[in-house]
């Protein structure tokens, strides 16, 4: 499901003294199957953007094409269908868990949609497996008996079970410890590979954006401030800082490394800026310093 926005703006409370333009003249194209990260500080327009994508909001100016859906739409009916195909997992999605059992909670959307009961169980269990929760072990438990990370997984299963073509995740790791953080992002990356849908990750973390996404949109003041592959975007540190963001730490290290090479007139070759994995960086460093003796044993 391709996504195309043409000159889309969104204004809250238009025509009143409280009018606030949260999104300004955004044009972009996301081909189906891409893993996209949306980065930007609070108030940059990220939340408005994702609410437009699943039809919770409709553009006040411009048009959007999401698969077969054109927005603004005249009929409400189409929006419901759009919402089934564009799954949105809000921040802290576990706050919305409410059923007696994990299975019932994950099934909620399907039941609402009128999916026949005999089909529901299989889909629910498949969704639970997809997020790494064994349905036999956790299916009949109360969602509130799960750990924080497991609750987050159960809530994401509730979105995935609808089998959306586009999956939007608003800071899916907020509040999780480092292991839970990594586990959730690895799970999302695996689901993206296996299910071949479009994944849109909203994040504050430049590291996560660089490590997981194919393509980044940096939002600032309601506009798309920068876009491109991680290496393209991180070529311009000043522009990133103007958006109130920082380079990923690994990129900052590489920039400093290259700066030292330059100022020292060293013969060590500079490091490429497209390394986002620490092991790869360590390999590159080992290659550079072993030839020169350096400090290796």
């Amino acid at each position: 499901m391709d996504i195309r926005l043409e000159n889309v703006s969104y204004t809250y409370s238009p025509g009143t003294p409280f009018a606030y333009q949260a999104l300004r003249d955004v044009s972009l194209y996301i081909p189906h199957g891409r893993y996209v990260a949306i980065i930007g500080h609070t108030g940059s327009g990220k939340s408005t953007f994702i609410q437009l994508l699943n039809g919770l909001l409709q553009p006040t100016e411009g048009t959007m094409q999401i698969g077969e859906f054109t927005l603004p739409a005249k009929k409400k009916k189409g929006l419901e269908k759009l919402r089934q195909q564009v799954g949105l997992a809000f921040q802290y999605p576990e706050y919305q868990l409410f059923e007696e059992t994990v299975r019932k909670d994950v099934a909620f959307g399907l039941v609402n949609m009128g999916v026949p009961p005999e089909m529901i169980v299989a889909r629910v269990d498949a969704a639970l497996r997809l997020v790494g929760l064994d349905p036999e072990k956790y299916g009949e438990k109360s969602p509130f008996a799960l750990s924080g990370g497991q609750m987050r997984r159960a809530a994401l299963a509730g979105v995935l079970v609808m089998n959306p073509k586009v999956l939007i995740l608003d800071e899916p790791t907020a509040g999780l410890d480092p292991a839970g953080h990594r586990a959730i992002l690895e799970m999302i990356a695996r689901v993206h590979r296996e299910e071949k849908r479009t994944t849109i990750l909203v994040t504050h973390s430049m590291e996560d954006a660089a490590l997981y996404a194919d393509y980044l949109y940096v939002m600032n003041q309601g506009r798309v401030w920068m876009e491109g592959t991680p290496q393209q975007v991180f070529q311009e540190p000043e522009k990133i800082q103007q958006a109130g963001l920082d380079l990923p730490e690994i990129t900052r290290f590489i920039v400093q490394f290259n700066e030292r090479v330059r100022t020292a007139g060293s013969s060590v070759p500079p490091l490429p800026l497209d390394i986002f994995d620490s092991e790869q960086l360590a390999d590159e460093l080992a290659r550079r310093f072993s030839r020169r003796g350096g400090k290796r044993r």
């Binding site: 108030g43 480092p178 292991a179 360590a282 080992a286 400090k295």
Partner: protein, 280 residues
Amino acid sequence: MVDLTETIIRLNQVSFAYEGAEEKAVKGVSCEVRKGEFLSIIGHNGSGKSTLAKLLNGLLLPTEGSVEVAGVVTSDEEQIWQVRQTVGMVFQNPDNQFVAPTVEDDIAFGMENIGIPPSEMEARIIDALQKVNMSEFRTAEPNRLSGGQKQRVAIAGALAVRPAVLVLDEATAMLDPRGRKEVLEVVRRMNLEQGMTVIQITHYLEETLESDRILVMDGGALVGEGTPETIYQKVDWLRKLGLDVPFACDLQYRLRKKGFRFPVLNITGEGVLDSLWISD
């Protein structure tokens, strides 16, 4: 340089179980917090960090053992306000911490609670807002502020009470990178310039690098204690606990496996570069 020898909080074999819970959330923790130190507490979700924080100012009382704050035991009901005055707390969600329609009223609320005379409040509000760089927002509505600004107002509210210790319980968790930086700069400055003791609980390991000490919690118990340089040496152990190490420490860990030698662990990228170049 503050010498960190005076104890301000002492925990003696502290355990705590929530009502009806089978397992204790905090198990037999003994430790001392020194006056003027910047202390970080790390641990995975559910490791007991937040419970420990609430035990530090008597919001929770130990089911076993005792917590002493500046010589006062927190279970002493008659002196609980003295404990609360000594230890200020700022929590995770900036939206749940406001009770009043304006920033200044909100800051006044905390002072009313401990009986600061109204004649003194004005000066304290001005002072507290200045410390967190929020003076111009004195009459603003809290709900119109950004997350980082809200948390700085929450800190100002705590500071107006003039606590000797400020506890930040994941106070930056819901903020964006800019907001996190704003909050950390403020508390770091309070620590360095005013000698205020800071105890922060965080999942952002990068935020612990400037701490004097780090405490590591697991399963309700205190399982590790040391400077960032010593704690972040133990990469495998931390990962087993559901934690991780900051970027520079991870990089050195990987480089060491490839035969590099680092006489000491550098906790910043700059430090790693220095060692690479010095030996070059």
